[in-house]
Subunit: 162 residues, 4 copies
């Protein structure tokens, strides 16, 4: 039972630049996180892009969706910034029907010790192996179908729409 | 969809005693870990015991199984030392039929920064919400049915028997 | 032998805002860091301001210097952003003659696990108890007199001028 | 101004063995800690032994003292378990007269995130550059002369004898 992780950036992978004090992207920490979690599930990690989800264009979302479509595995995790995670989920759902696709992310960068990323990654790996085909968002220990989920920007949590 | 976590101790919750250099148990870190993971799934944590699984007696396993039996929720996570996790899973499986019960643990104490516990807890929370009724072990990003799992003590990982 | 720490902000104390992804200041972490270091030297921490040193005005530097002047202890540590640490040291040195004053800071926020702040704080506490009266910068395990120090912004390290 | 660090083990360098749950020694973390602290003071690290100070024999203490004696630098830090740190300091003081020698250690292993080791190492690097020749213990942000120091084993802190 093999799993693909597509990395797109987001808070998950933000780094601190000690020369100018800004946050930026370099390489993904996903492999390091899987190692830290002693993960032995058969997973391949591929980086599609490294960006803030707030800067994503329609083209970027198409790229993500078409990679999900072309992927020969039917269990896919997409790491993604939380701000537009729901929009990307919608684009994927319009295009990919016969796979279990989980979008997940973090509110705190992994490199900040107190990250929720390791927990969310664990949960996503649980959900991707067990949920029926469909597109889901996994955050805060919960899962949501793509069409019944929004980010509550006041409290920084995901919730059902209805 | 409510989840119960029964805490029994194990590496998960070991502390370092700075006066004598020994590892020991005090209180569980489960609530702290759920907070760190920004978990919003409806979870109640109850401590049944705080012990090394290598020291568990038949009576201890009966206590765990009967708490699973009496629990009015059908989604249960049991945190447990890895050494005898499979034995306890077997006792629970003999007694409890109509619930999804996930045993999980850690190879490294949570208080040691590099813990696999947060990752395993995330995965267990994913599995408990989605797997059919049964007794499972969730370690290393994978899940195993209770009767097809053993700990490989040479490499410190769980694996299928057949 | 009592020591005063004046907090002025800087990278030391930056926090990550998980709602908007920006870095910001809230309360100082100095007391938490002293506790983590099991520090038992008699130290009082007082916050003068919480700001990026790049935003400091002449008035801010006067505030810091006059607090050093009025302080009834002769061992003072000032936590400070690294960008204009040398300018503030010069202003203090022009005003305060009979005290040992150590400016220190960090390149990485303390809340990012991999901080140099705890190490620099330890070194500053060592230097403040042992160096003769004067104004010094303590960074990177070294100390510099205020008039023979600059920050090399290319490599992010402090160095002697001559 | 060059500094030598002699590593002898102690809590500083203890590791957690995830296969059997015991604490043990492998390689020193001193170079990693100096890197984390962005230390640029000219320091050489040499490992003399890796042991619990409670297991040290008279021969081990002689080895440490004679390495301090032979060392061609006059600024030396010795990392050491806290239980018998004072005994080793006494043996060194009987043998080495014209150097500044600082013994330091930790109450919590560095690999346990919440270590006091990084703070103590910073302080020791401060003291070794500034204290006059003599043998000292640096713990808890304070320094003690070798002949006026004891470990209070009830509270786990060092204190003056008189």
């Amino acid at each position: 039972m093999s799993i693909r992780i597509f990395v797109t950036g987001g808070t998950f992978d933000k780094e601190y630049n000690e020369l100018n004090g800004a946050l930026f992207f370099k390489d993904t920490h996903l492999n390091e996180m899987l190692k830290l979690g002693r993960c032995k599930a058969p997973i391949e990690v591929r980086t599609l892009m490294m960006m803030d989800s707030i800067d994503m264009t329609d083209d970027d979302r198409e790229t993500i969706a078409s990679n999900c479509l072309k992927c020969d595995l039917d269990k896919i995790i997409v790491t993604h910034g939380t701000d537009t995670m729901v929009e990307t989920a919608k684009v994927i759902a319009g295009k990919v029907k016969d796979k279990t696709i989980i979008l997940t992310g973090a509110m705190i960068p992994y490199k900040f010790g107190s990250s929720d990323g390791l927990f969310n990654l664990g949960a996503a790996i649980g959900f991707v192996q067990t949920l029926p085909h469909g597109v889901y968002i996994a955050m805060n220990g919960r899962f949501f179908t793509w069409d019944n989920c929004r980010k509550n920007k006041v409290i920084g949590e995901f919730e059902e729409i209805r």
